[in-house]
């Protein structure tokens, strides 16, 4: 109780979230009257990031930096434009489709929103879209980043659940595609209601030329997947191989990548990974004291009195996660909830840990788009200057279809498991 209060107070004063978790953990140890835990505290923080699977995170972020520096993002947008540009609401479709392509290279939602908002929002504004809507839509496009492989969150989940990283990454493909389709349906409907503008018309010949000249960007995801399937690398190492592929594409095909930029890219990738990884460390120490205080056990006992079958458990899980996700989302949300919920899911309700992972990850990704703490909106706001709160309101239908996807994933395990051998 005291811990919760301490957490709320420091958070509202504007203390960074990672530190809020660290401070709440200290308060919890003081309140629990077990000061011995203070001796273990630094080691638990260290141990929170002392995990092989997490290596993938800096590498995934580095690929994004190289890709962006090599002008590859812009070409992916062109590629998407050639497919759907001249429809009504063309640039909105382009936004989602380009986000889907980019998702096959990038692993994190916030990084993706940062990159895509810089490109898509000015373009959409030029064509007459409302800036707030454009920024909000890009934030939802970023949702695809951690759902379609590669994915930082699936990596973190597989580390915690001790399931195969590849299985988890593959499990995200079908849900990612369904989400893309659902988003496009919303755009079609909203485009009809609000009369979205069309993009410039391209002749079929222009389209084919664009597709041919931009297709090599897809070499990067192909190299990533190919190095895994070919036995060259595991899912983590494939990220490093992918970074090399991104350098080659950027250097010899788009010719925009310069080695002089590499140190800055390394620096940015390092800092942005530290933001994520420090949250992982903070969440580890926080969940450690909670587990020590048997909060998960008590929660499990309570859940069993409420949920009588797997379906009601899954729906309850979704509700709980959506509530938690308003404040604690993404990777930290994962780290706080999985140790509590996963054992209940697999042992008591017999749910496949991979299906459960997909539901939890998608839910907590959606948490990145729910107020008051919605990192994707914050990032889109930082890049474009639009207001996060307004973004949420004008894009509510996208939130709605995301919830529909969550229900589908909860009810039908096959949507997550069908591609796993």
């Amino acid at each position: 109780m005291l811990t919760g209060a301490a957490f709320m107070v420091v958070m509202l004063v504007g203390v960074p979230i990672g530190l809020c978790l660290c401070i709440a953990a200290i308060v919890y140890v003081m309140a629990s009257g077990n000061p011995l835990l203070f001796q273990s505290y630094p080691l638990q923080m260290f141990g929170g990031v002392d995990s092989y699977g997490l290596i993938a995170i800096p590498l995934f972020i580095l690929i994004g930096e190289i890709m962006n520096g090599g002008g590859i993002t812009k070409r992916i947008v062109d590629l998407a434009m050639a497919f759907v540009g001249s429809l009504k609401g063309g640039l909105a479709y382009v936004n989602i489709l380009a986000n889907m392509f980019v998702s096959s290279i990038l692993g994190s939602a916030t990084a993706q929103v940062a990159i895509m908002a810089q490109i898509m929002v000015p373009e959409m504004e030029k064509k007459g879209y409302d800036k707030t809507f454009a920024a909000g839509l890009t934030a939802y496009g970023g949702m695809l980043g951690p759902i379609i492989p590669p994915s930082v969150m699936f990596v973190v989940y597989s580390v915690m659940a001790q399931v195969s990283v590849s299985d988890m990454l593959i499990a995200g493909i079908v849900p990612g595609v369904i989400l893309t389709v659902l988003f496009c349906l919303v755009i079609a409907l909203m485009g009809y209601i609000y009369n979205y503008p069309r993009a410039d018309y391209q002749t079929p010949r222009q389209r084919i030329a664009t597709i041919l000249s931009t297709a090599p960007t897809m070499l990067i995801p192909i190299v990533i997947v190919g190095s895994i399937l070919g036995g060259l690398a595991n899912a983590t190492e494939a990220a490093a191989v992918g970074a090399i592929a991104a350098i080659i594409v950027g250097k010899y095909w788009t010719r925009e990548f310069q080695f002089a930029q590499l140190p800055q890219m390394m620096l940015r990738a390092g800092i942005y990974s530290a933001i994520v990884l420090f949250l992982v460390a903070a969440a580890a120490v926080f969940s450690w004291v909670l587990i020590f205080g048997k909060v998960p056990q008590d929660t499990a006992a309570w859940i069993q009195t409420v949920a009588k079958d797997p379906v009601s458990f899954m729906l309850l899980t979704n509700v709980i996660l959506l509530i938690i996700g308003t404040v604690i989302d993404g990777v930290p949300g994962l780290i706080m909830t999985v140790p509590i919920l996963l054992p209940i899911a697999t042992e008591i309700y017999g749910i496949d840990p991979r299906q459960f992972g997909v539901v939890v990850v998608v839910n907590l990704v959606l948490g990145l788009l729910s107020p008051p703490v919605g990192l994707c909106f914050f990032v889109a706001a930082a890049v474009t200057g639009a207001k996060p709160g307004k973004m949420f309101v004008v894009t509510l239908p996208f939130f709605g279809v995301s919830c529909i996807l969550l229900i589908l994933l909860s009810l039908y395990p096959a949507l997550s498991l069908i591609l796993i051998k």
Binding site: P16, C22, V241
Partner: protein, 208 residues
């Protein structure tokens, strides 16, 4: 660099100047280390792929890569503090008056400093340098006296003493506190906000 930014302002008291200068030096070192660990990590992973493919796998690479990431995390987290880059909730603070916002800012910076000091204390309890000195820097003797076996442990494949890797925790605690103090001096408007031109962090910058 610090001297330039301060020159335009009223002269600062000596302790403030020292803290700001220390924070700036520290940040410059952290910048190099962050880049260094990223290069190291990438090189280690690619080396692992290459040597395994060539059927001469190197045993300690995984462990080195993992510890590179751990150091990267905490060095980056320290730098983040000075750059004010971490994600925070602004729903309350952005509704406050200018004076209220300044108070909130000072309070949140104080929280950073308090956590830094707390972490230092916890590292002190854990690493117990005084106890170690009392045991004549003999790890076994120390373990016998205190039940603290920290200095007798080694990592599994590198075989390094684990305490050398754990040192990042006290380093992080100290550097974060210094950055926190530097931020506090700026928050109290005792010195102008320093810019950090060697960090070009376009995207998420200013989210805080």
């Amino acid at each position: 660099m610090v001297d330039q930014t301060i020159a335009t302002h009223t002269p600062l008291a000596r302790p403030y100047r020292l803290i700001l200068a220390a924070s700036t030096r520290l940040l410059a070192v952290e910048r190099l280390l962050i880049m260094g660990f990223m290069y190291l990590l990438t090189a280690l992973i690619l080396l692992n792929v290459a040597t395994r493919y060539a059927r001469v796998p190197i045993y300690w690479i995984d462990e080195s890569a993992v510890y590179s990431v751990v150091w990267l995390t905490f060095i980056g987290a320290s730098a983040m503090t000075r750059l004010r880059l971490d994600f925070a909730v602004s729903m309350l603070t952005e509704r406050l008056s200018e004076r209220g916002a300044m108070i909130a800012k000072v309070l949140s910076t104080l929280a950073v400093i308090i956590f830094g000091l707390a972490l230092m204390t916890m590292c002190w309890l854990w690493m117990d340098p005084v106890g170690l000195a009392r045991a004549g820097f003999d790890a076994r003797e120390f373990a016998g006296q205190t039940f603290n076996f920290l200095y007798t442990e080694r990592t599994q494949t590198l075989g390094w003493p684990t305490w050398s890797l754990y040192l990042i925790m006290p380093i992080f605690a100290v550097s974060m506190t210094i950055h926190g103090l530097a931020n506090l001096i700026e928050d109290l408007e005792l010195a102008p906000k320093a810019s950090h031109p060697s960090f070009v962090l376009s995207a998420v910058d200013g989210v805080n």
